[in-house]
């Protein structure tokens, strides 16, 4: 697809390593180290417009809400184009219903428009890069997909919800999330939900997930493994 910028995925080695552990060893109250922040700043300069991060949490048995809130607050402080709003799902049922929040923590990324990008769980390990990319792309206007894939995307008549089950140690998962998220931004008919299977075992069992990435389209079609763009678009069209 046509992209406006080449994303600079640089210097995230430390970030990925720390986020797997979920803490900053030199300061346990923080997630990102100063060097992580410096590297992330290099990426965030690619933002165009503003991006709102909606974080949904709960006081009741949420494994990673506190850690996720710490991380997003740190991200919020890195760019004046990012703003964070936190909602306790038990006290804000209306807004949780509006965004169809099934699990906590949930992160909804809203840029120039609501492109339908949502993440369940602590975005650690290899899943941190796709979240940063989603923030950057969401800050831009909806791009146009050209060629055959563009024709197929434009032929979609009804909404398609893409759920991608991932783990923080899966090398090909970020690629699957990246492809789905970029098409969510390119088409108002496609939304992408990423689920950290390691945090949501029962939810993953409901979908009988035993491998990642696994992509579930509109709750019916299921495909294990990494798909290329063309296959992904074909499955989306069939599921619509």
């Amino acid at each position: 697809m046509e992209t406006k910028i080449k994303l600079m995925i640089v210097g995230l080695l430390l970030v990925g390593t720390l986020l797997l552990a979920g803490c900053n060893e030199s300061n346990p109250d923080k997630v990102l180290s100063e060097s992580d922040k410096a590297e992330i700043n290099k990426i965030l300069v690619n933002m165009d417009g503003n991006v709102e991060l909606l974080l949904f949490t709960s006081q009741n048995g949420c494994f990673s809400c506190s850690k996720t809130e710490t991380l997003l607050k740190e991200l919020d402080q890195l760019s004046n184009k990012i703003s964070l709003k936190t909602y306790d799902v038990d006290k804000n049922k209306d807004i949780a219903t509006k965004y169809n929040i099934e699990l906590v923590p949930a992160i909804v990324v809203i840029g120039k428009e609501d492109y339908g990008i949502k993440h369940y769980g602590f975005p650690g390990g290899k899943e941190f890069n796709p979240l940063l990319e989603a923030i950057i792309y969401s800050s831009m206007s909806r791009p146009t997909v050209t060629g055959d894939l563009g024709k197929k995307i434009n032929s979609i008549k009804s909404p398609v919800e893409v759920k991608i089950f991932v783990t923080p140690t899966c090398p090909s998962c970020p690629d699957m999330v990246r492809i789905a998220s970029s098409y969510s931004i390119a088409s108002d008919k496609i939304s992408t939900v990423t689920i950290m299977s390691n945090e949501f075992e029962e939810y993953s069992k409901k979908y009988k997930i035993t491998a990642v990435p696994t992509t579930v389209l509109n709750e019916t079609f299921k495909k294990e493994g990494l798909m290329d763009e063309e296959s992904f678009v074909n499955y989306v069209v069939v599921s619509s």
């Binding site: 080449k6 600079m8 995925i9 640089v10 210097g11 995230l12 080695l13 990925g16 390593t17 290899k126 050209t146 060629g147 055959d148 894939l149 783990t167 140690t169 899966c170 090398p171 090909s172 998962c173 690629d175 299977s197 390691n198 009988k208 997930i209 035993t210 491998a211 990642v212 990435p213 696994t214 294990e224 493994g225 290329d228 763009e229 063309e230």
Partner: protein, 309 residues
């Protein structure tokens, strides 16, 4: 359309190292890869890449990407459909665009060898896995089998043993092969049992994997099967260019990484280079040698090549 000096097809250790050296030699280069980082990213632990001690494949390749990003080398994350020759240039056909280059460097690596027995494809994602680092988590407290006996199988079994209750290594030979340091860790791990001289003939189950059948008729009950039986070359565009392959399908290269076709070079696991020793280190090295050879060729054609030793 720009004509690049060299199009590097593949973005694993060989392709990225080639990209870095192309930038250092001020070649007008482009990398085309549908997975920057390549299959090396799947290795859960690498302990033999100098300077890094112990590092995961993903982290090491992140460092490679980070290094590449210090240079202005464009990267197209695309699938290559075909390569043809038109006048003096190669035309690399992608989904929605073409790339023109004077030289090409094929660094497409390898892909995983499939188990290829009944049940392998049927249960893929339903108990059969080709990625230990991705899916080990789903087998906490369960029984699994690793098929294979090389470094990848050994290190995969060790990772699985940290989560599963029991791990079988099923291997067709009478002793494990690869680095002895991994073998020592396998045979001293109380959760791992190695079944030597054993070959899986079928993966059994209903909706999900329930066991494997061995050649001698034994049935081993397992919840998951991890396949680590090596790889086969992921050759791209060799047929249309007439690139000569070895009997096993690897691209034949000389000591400069040149193929039998003028201005076509190859590097990394896809080649016969480095005495067939497929390592991240040797792949990176071949990528670098290939770029130096291409640089020399270009300089030679201009009559400006420095005098060689």
């Amino acid at each position: 359309m720009d004509v690049y000096d060299v199009a590097i097809i593949g973005g694993g250790p060989a392709g990225i190292s080639a990209g870095i050296y192309a930038a250092r030699f001020k070649l007008n280069a482009i990398i085309i890869s549908n997975s920057l980082g390549g299959t090396a990213q799947s290795a859960h632990l690498i302990e033999n890449y100098p300077g890094f001690g112990a590092v995961s494949g993903f982290e090491l390749m992140q460092k490679f990407r980070e290094h590449l990003n210090l240079f202005e080398i464009p990267v197209l994350e695309k699938h290559v459909h075909s390569v043809s020759k038109e006048n003096d240039n190669f035309i690399i056909k992608l989904n929605e665009q073409d790339v023109k280059a004077k030289y090409i460097l094929i660094a497409t690596g390898t892909k995983r060898r499939k188990l290829g027995v009944p049940g392998d494809a049927k249960f893929y994602g339903k108990g059969v896995s080709y990625c230990v680092t991705c899916d080990a988590f789903f087998y906490r407290g369960k029984t699994v089998a690793v098929v294979g006996g090389s470094d990848a199988a050994n290190m995969g079994a060790i990772l699985l043993a940290s989560m599963a209750e029991k791990v079988y290594i099923i291997y067709r030979r009478d002793k494990l092969r690869g680095e002895l340091i991994w073998i020592d860790r396998v045979i001293t791990n109380p959760k791992i049992e190695v079944l030597y001289n054993s070959t899986v003939t079928e993966v059994l189950g209903n909706e999900f994997v329930e066991g494997v059948k061995l050649e001698d008729g034994r049935i081993i009950k397992v919840d998951g099967v991890f396949v680590e039986i090596g790889s086969i070359p992921e050759c791209c565009c060799t047929n249309e260019l007439g690139v000569k392959l070895s009997e096993k399908g690897y691209i034949i290269v000389d000591s400069t990484q040149k193929t039998n076709i003028d201005r076509v070079y190859a590097a990394g696991d896809v080649t016969t280079g480095s005495n067939g020793f497929q390592q991240i280190l040797t792949a990176a090295s071949e990528g670098v040698v290939a770029i130096k050879s291409i640089f020399d060729d270009i300089e030679r054609s201009k009559g400006t090549l420095w005098k060689q030793k």
